[in-house]
Symmetry: D2
Subunit: 384 residues, 4 copies
């Protein structure tokens, strides 16, 4: 009897999970595959919304958990956490002996997965390679590409970038982004209890009234400026007289500064129209943004899922610099007036048409099938 | 008064040191520079020839040492050692606060330096980027390139590769390889006591008689095959009736297998003409290979310094696959007969003409000057 | 010229600092001593009140900082953080080469200091050995005693316990606790701006009106019960109609549960009389408790400094089980009614007489002098 | 259905294994127990004799392996390896969720097991507590005792020491040492191929002729003196005209010095009568020493198993200082003449009578039964 191929996937954050969930489900139900699911980093931390329950409610079994975040939320601990994750993941790989490891996107700790797997001669698959942005993610993403053996870019442009970066075209599969699968297959309607299912802090959000969504992460390469940056967003959002669903930032260096800005604002102003949340399930996140009047901040979801759903979006600052996007996004600087104006324009514009540059909703199964059957080669070579 | 720019360089192995020594000396004597020298990994281990004494004898001060090698010499511990080095180096950078960090070449643990520095928003300089080889080094080198902010390629072809990889040409300085500085400036003559200054094991080498040099490292991406590979080299070298200076392999995964092959051979055959050494100073290494009849194995020194010195060389296997080289090299497979034949051809050919593809001997000062004065920018962007 | 003795002290938390500050000051001004001050763990984290500014305002220079907390605040990460601290501290000791290392008290991460120093053959000094409590601290404290070479117990009973534990009496110096030095030498009066100098959250505290102080940490050996335990304290304190200064718990496993309890209470009740603080300077902490009507919770400060200052205290639960204490403490279970009753009794009793069981206020200089001159021996031996 | 109790045991070295093997076998065949066997540290390293094959040949399944040795063999890396082992073991415990963890004896890295388990509120069992020796082991052993919840001392005196150290007598089980089980139940005869089954280096040992056994480890608290110390032993042993079975030292700090002494001696003298081995199976080790004329060095096996088997032994230096022993041992200093004389006295004396101070051969089953059924309590308290 043939052994099943063992595919190990590392989920490190709430964002990671939404971007890989349909791949996980497709692999778990694939007859030729043995799925190994490792959950670590901020995905197991209360402070960032421990997502283990969400994962298990989706019917997935967690093989291993790992605590790998060294506290500090600064560039030093970002590096150290990556080092610790390499140590931890290599022991886990040593004991699980996967045939392929997949790492998702470009957050700083995903490089840990890439180093552990590639150094251990385990073929490394990578999603979202070839895209262009700002922040340290830009460096991390391309570094992972140079360590990876199979690429699943989300867009044609990204695929072309991978080829220009010297990757062997035979190892590049333009599958689209698995997050679009959820956008394509979720009933977008919101029921009356939608917001009550998530705790968070602040006054209740009425799903029948219009609301904005804000999600602004720190920019690691602008560390130290996050506090001033978020103040501009706060001023702009405060000036719009509307309900706001505000998501706490991720764990990148500078997260503390952003959170501090939000916390001081909360404490002083006790805003009557803003509710702060840590987390939504991937489907509920899709519903959340699909029904908002405008998404504000610098999350890639405004650009990726936003394009597919046609969500009017205001993208602030450099974090998404250079990222391919649809027509739904207005780019502005960290300036109150620019942000305000853009929000108003987007509200009055309303929904945009669907764009499928990031995929059409069939990515999970595509990737699973390729992982199940593709030939695997370890030795890389610059392919010019 | 202007603060001096703090430049931190990490030396992780004997090979590292020879490849960066003239940069270190130039920086130490530069009036605008404060040199921070960190010595770690195999460079502080007896088993691989602790080089701290050699460094201090060269008049350099060591700022910090760090033990970062997790024992096992397999792919798992190679990954883990890299993780540990990231943890250690980020604490060191946190306390030393360097303005620039420089990482040398492409050994697996040099990626640790690159991750720590780039994640901490410290501009990262890199030597030997853009070259092409086999082994995990191929992946590591290009991944470091994608994290680095200043590049010091050794050859024109390497420079072009960096540009094709999307690096900003304004950040690429074609300086040549600092190892050529030593090759260019060392008196190549060997005195009678040359070999007596180094211990090692085995019968004495007579510097007045012809000798071969062997240096064969494991290939990490062919882990598990090192024992068989080295046996072919042993057979071939044994068949030539000549003195042999044999250097122990480096610490890469598979080192144990190579060493075991050598050790079993030593124990069984007690070869009367082979002396095993751990280490030479950079200058003595240059003398050593400049005066041998043929250098055998898969060390890049046969290709780099060898080209400059015109040393006849036999390069075995895949480790240097695709590396640019001069006319002094014959490439063969891991096969006794092929190796034997090539050695014989090279012995009868004798010295080759100097090739300066890897530099002309002025690299150290060039790099030091650029590090002292170049503008430093943190945020990278794919430059196509 | 004789070299100065290098004494390295590790400060890991706000509580650590108050308990060793006068030793640090005495060492820094001692002509025969070179003080090395390492600040790490929760002492460099915003979330727990980064105390570096307080330390520097006291005129002390920080030699090294180290991020060693692995986030999670559970028993697993408590162990992992200790492992990481050992790795970090041994590199620091390797580079600082101290002649003596001193570790403070019994928090979980102090064992890291003890392991690193004792394994590295560096004489280890320890304060607060020989005392008895609950929580993991009880195990940690005695384990450190078995690794330590010089002991500075705080009480006669503790000294006797150390002798019974098989420590050589010649290595035990009954010096009292350095925290009493601050209690003895601080002007206890509170000015009008006292509370305004610290941010925190909640309504202003009026220093002219009576107030309570609450400080309740998790009990690691009762992990999982912290949420229920803190609810009882909240109920009891809420029932007393009085201003409350509430300090956030430390970083021990279970801290999340305690904080969550407090946070939910804050969010729901928006209490008008409670202000939450992260941190006070050691002197201000002394003033704070010296002027309160009653200190509530399970902090050792209620027992140690509280005894000296005669502060009426209610000690809740098992954390201080078996700790020697003065007459100022009433012990109660995790029960609303018991806590309420005890608070009322203490308020009506008012201040207690000074007890000097934990020292008389001259400890810092005593310890510094002993560290400067004592003979140091590495090899330990059970002394029965 | 009742869940089986999960017992996790960590084996870190060849010596560890012999001291716990019969417990492992008894647990594996116990109907109420689920055995989790973790093999790490030097037990998975070629250089110290990877014992995984021996373990599996004994019919035991390995649950997890872990690489935790940071190379350097000095006090700094001894500390760092312990830190790394804590990090690794806590992740392993987090994923295996054992009900009890058992740590063996007193090597430096066994403290890692003790810290990880006790901090994680997992009841910790410990063998060999309460004994007295030199080296860092003396500190480590008693520190583990203070963290442990169940004690399995080997001797009555050790049991009494545990009580005097303040351990609760109800948690102390005087079971003897499991190593005696092997001594009691192994057929002590040696066949003609005995020595041929183990490789090692040096001339063949003839099992029909008399031989000596040498096993001398570094003393960590005398780090830096190992080279001089081993030279005395080499001189003494060389002066006796007899076959010698010499075992390489363990991985303690200073191992390099001892090995270097042996290696230089081997290289210079090419001794015709000494064979060097890394490792024997527990049973073969018993046969080996049971049939030698005299065991020389500072291994505890000469004292423990040696007492039971009546092996004449010469114990050199401070490593076993104060350890309880039978009549079979002569203690000498690190001095050629003293060692020589003692060897001669022992050879002429011949075998000693059996002493059962360290157990009678029934320990494995005893410990297994207690682990299967004993009540487990987490919170410790000094018991005076």
């Amino acid at each position: 009897m043939k052994n099943k191929r063992k595919i190990c996937i590392i989920v490190n954050s709430r964002a990671n999970y939404g971007r890989i969930k349909t791949v996980l489900l497709a692999l778990q139900s694939h007859p030729e595959i043995n799925l190994q699911l490792v959950v670590g980093a901020s995905a197991v931390l209360q402070r960032f919304g421990d997502i283990r329950e969400i994962i298990e409610n989706d019917g997935l079994s967690i093989t291993n958990i790992v605590y790998s975040v060294i506290e500090g939320e600064n560039p030093t601990t970002m590096a150290k956490s990556t080092g610790l994750a390499i140590i931890e993941l290599s022991t886990i790989f040593e004991n699980l002996q996967p045939d392929v490891v997949l790492t998702v996107a470009d957050r700083y700790e995903t490089l840990a997965t890439a180093v552990a797997a590639s150094y251990m001669n385990i073929p490394l698959a990578h999603t979202q390679g070839g895209e262009v942005t700002g922040s340290i993610d830009e460096s991390v993403r391309h570094a992972i590409t140079k360590l990876a053996h199979i690429h699943f870019p989300s867009t044609k442009l990204a695929k072309n970038n991978l080829i220009r970066l010297g990757e062997d075209p035979a190892t590049i599969y333009m599958t689209g982004c698995p997050a679009m699968d959820i956008a394509a297959n979720t009933d977008l309607s919101i029921d009356a209890d939608f917001f009550k299912r998530y705790k968070g802090v602040g006054p209740d959000i009425d799903p029948n009234k219009p609301y904005l969504v804000v999600l602004q992460h720190p920019v690691t390469t602008e560390f130290g400026k996050g506090f001033d940056q978020i103040k501009e967003t706060i001023k702009a959002v405060s000036s719009i007289n509307m309900q706001v669903v505000w998501l706490w930032p991720n764990i990148d260096a500078g997260s503390d500064d952003v959170s501090k800005g939000i916390r001081i604002f909360r404490e002083r102003e006790k805003p009557k129209y803003i509710h702060f949340y840590k987390n939504f399930s991937p489907e509920d996140f899709i519903k959340l943004i699909a029904n908002c009047l405008c998404q504000i901040g610098n999350s890639s979801s405004a650009i990726r899922e936003g394009a597919f759903l046609g969500v009017p979006a205001v993208n602030i600052g450099t974090r998404q610099n250079g990222r391919e996007c649809g027509k739904n996004v207005i780019h502005v600087d960290y300036k109150n007036e620019e942000i305000q104006n853009a929000i108003k324009i987007q509200i009055s514009h309303g929904k945009y048409e669907r764009s499928d540059i990031f995929g059409r909703g069939n990515t999970g199964k595509l990737i699973a099938e390729i992982l199940a059957t593709s030939k695997l080669k370890i030795q890389k070579k610059l392919h010019f």
